[in-house]
């Protein structure tokens, strides 16, 4: 039984490392911090495994359909890249909310910190795909513009939440003060 035990234990550990960051649905789901590698999905993304992404980065940090994509450091929601949009574009039939929260994320290509605006796409119900929750520098409700828990569709025509984008605003003057 010991070989079996070891095998299971290995699987369990492997899963534990992988789980949670894309944990499916929770807009408030769990996240493991650090360099955890997420599962490749068996479909389209498997083929993109070694692709160079939009920002010239190889691997998950360059792939906007992955939670580990560098711009997603303070996102909380479904990734529009998996929902018929892209990381800068809303899916058909939705509206991009003009008000938003921001994060400060480091671009691995140039080593610079960028202000990222996580504009929600609104007016249609949960996309339900590629849930991603990361909270680097995220702050509670009363610290509005750093809070990713709010339904930011409050600025759109209909406040139904569908998915979130990650748009470059500008280079940050300093690495974010919030840890």
């Amino acid at each position: 039984m010991s070989r079996l035990d070891r095998w299971f234990e290995g699987l369990a550990r492997q899963s534990a490392r992988k789980v949670s960051r894309r944990s499916w649905l929770s807009r408030f789901g769990g996240v493991l911090v650090g360099g955890a590698t997420l599962p490749l999905l068996p479909v389209a993304r498997a083929a993109e495994k070694h692709a160079v992404g939009e920002d010239g980065v190889q691997g998950p940090q360059g792939d906007p359909t992955r939670c580990e994509y560098w711009r997603h450091c303070a996102i909380d929601g479904f990734l529009c890249s998996c929902c018929g949009g892209s990381h800068t574009t809303c899916p058909p039939g939705t509206e991009m909310s003009p008000v938003t929260w921001i994060g400060t994320c480091r671009n691995p290509t140039d080593g610079k910190d960028y202000i990222i605006s996580y504009n929600d796409c609104c007016g249609r119900t949960f996309c339900g795909r590629c849930m991603c929750n990361r909270n680097e520098g995220e702050r509670p409700l009363y610290h509005w513009y750093r809070n990713n828990d709010l339904n930011w569709c409050s600025g759109a025509k209909a406040q139904t939440y569908s998915c979130s984008t990650a748009i470059v605003v500008k280079v940050a003057k300093e690495a974010q003060p919030e840890k």
Partner: protein, 409 residues
């Protein structure tokens, strides 16, 4: 005006970014852009409606990519989206309540622009559209894309005819004793009736009842009823009975004409307990005249059971020509949910450990290199087979949570 990006533009964006001079900052990006669908409806697109998320998602079967979604109402099952290529519109029938799940009920035929998926308007229709667990044969669009049919239940039956050209209800036709709407031309549709007959409803030019005709009785609704999960080729519809009898109905004449039925099972297959079953359990490919049928081994009362095999028939030859196996969707469903790699070791173990629940519903695309899609009603993953060879091509994951329909636009 909301700026809109073509899919192609977005896909090229990476190249532009990579070409940026070294050392320069990433430029500020535009806010407010919304994707639109490609101009041409893809031959391998598929709608996957979901009762819990309350939307129907459009996927590209070649890549597994989600293209977009339209929302649905507060029903047990979303209705089938109807796509008018001529008018570049999509129609969907929704039920809404003034307080969410209670209060005043209103039913709408919602009109979407099929390039932007924007809801550009709606037509209020009688608040009694029928709702079922499968959502099959409840709505339909007549050839010519002018009239949309909505089956009603209140609890008697009727059919609302909606003129989407004039943007108004054309008529409501009483159809007591018959159910299901089966479009069979620009001016007619069929319905199955409780007395073992089929009825043709003939419409006038403006969408009102012209006259009704009835076939002779061709099946016994008590002993061996046909299911309402029919498939169409022009003016012909095929229906399958619980016992696997194939009934072909010709709607080209004034009166619907059933042809002699034949059995989709040999005597020995029947003895082995093979039966049809599932939800949307038959599919048809016009180019090859192939009929696909989900089968399982079971007894009486198993007509809703999912099956692990899909049998392929040559209809003109009246014979079975192939058997497809549908691989387990369990890992593809649980993987993204529980956070493991469906194609890795954990996925393989789970697909082995957990049972293959089988297939409730199938759909086949209409082109010359057709795909066959399959789903189990409770698993949020859709399997994709080569419809000619049966080869398993891919799974579409994160395809919802619960639903029975698969709709080729």
């Amino acid at each position: 005006m909301v700026p809109r990006a073509e899919l192609a533009v977005a896909l090229c964006f990476g190249l532009v970014a990579i070409a940026r001079p070294a050392g320069a900052d990433l430029p500020p990006e535009e806010v407010g852009r919304v994707m639109r669908l490609p101009e041409t409806v893809g031959e391998h697109w598929i709608w996957v409606p979901d009762r819990l998320f309350r939307h129907s998602v459009l996927f590209d079967g070649d890549t597994g990519r989600m293209l977009g979604a339209i929302d649905v109402g507060a029903q047990i099952s979303p209705k089938i989206p109807l796509w008018s290529r001529g008018r570049s519109e999509i129609y969907n029938v929704d039920t809404v309540y003034s307080r969410g799940h209670r209060g005043e009920r209103k039913d709408y035929l919602v009109i979407y622009d099929s390039r932007t998926l924007d809801a550009k308007g709606d037509i209020e229709i009688p608040p009694r559209s029928m709702d079922t667990g499968t959502g099959i044969a409840l709505v339909g669009m007549l050839d010519g894309d002018r009239f949309v049919l909505v089956l009603n239940h209140s609890p008697g039956t009727s059919v609302s005819v909606v003129d989407v050209e004039q943007r108004q209800l054309a008529s409501e036709i009483q159809t007591q004793g018959c159910a299901g709407v089966f479009p069979a031309g620009p001016d007619r549709f069929g319905m199955l009736c409780g007395d073992g007959t089929v009825m043709t409803v003939h419409l006038t030019d403006d969408g009102r009842l012209d006259h009704l005709t009835r076939s002779e009785r061709f099946f016994d609704p008590v002993v061996d009823p046909v299911t309402e999960k029919g498939v169409r080729d022009g003016t012909t519809w095929w229906f399958v009975s619980f016992e696997g009898m194939l009934h072909e109905i010709d709607f080209s004449g004034d009166t619907p004409a059933p042809k002699p039925a034949w059995s989709s099972f040999t005597e020995s297959e029947r003895r082995d307990g093979w039966r049809v079953g599932g939800a949307q359990h038959v599919a048809y490919h016009p180019g090859t005249n192939r009929l696909y049928s989900v089968v399982h081994e079971g007894g009486p009362g198993s007509h809703k059971d999912p099956g692990r095999e899909i049998w392929v028939y040559d209809l003109p030859a009246k014979k079975k020509i192939d058997v497809f196996e549908a691989p387990n969707l369990m890992a593809a469903f649980l993987g993204p949910q529980a956070g493991f790699d469906a194609s890795g070791v954990t996925g393989k173990v789970l697909n082995f450990l957990l049972p293959n629940l089988g297939v409730h519903s199938i759909a086949v695309t209409g082109d010359d290199a057709p795909l066959l899609f399959y789903r189990h009603a409770d698993l949020g993953a859709v399997g994709v087979l080569d419809a000619l060879s049966g080869e398993h091509l891919r799974d579409i994951d994160e395809a919802g949570l619960s639903g029975t329909l698969l709709v080729v636009p």
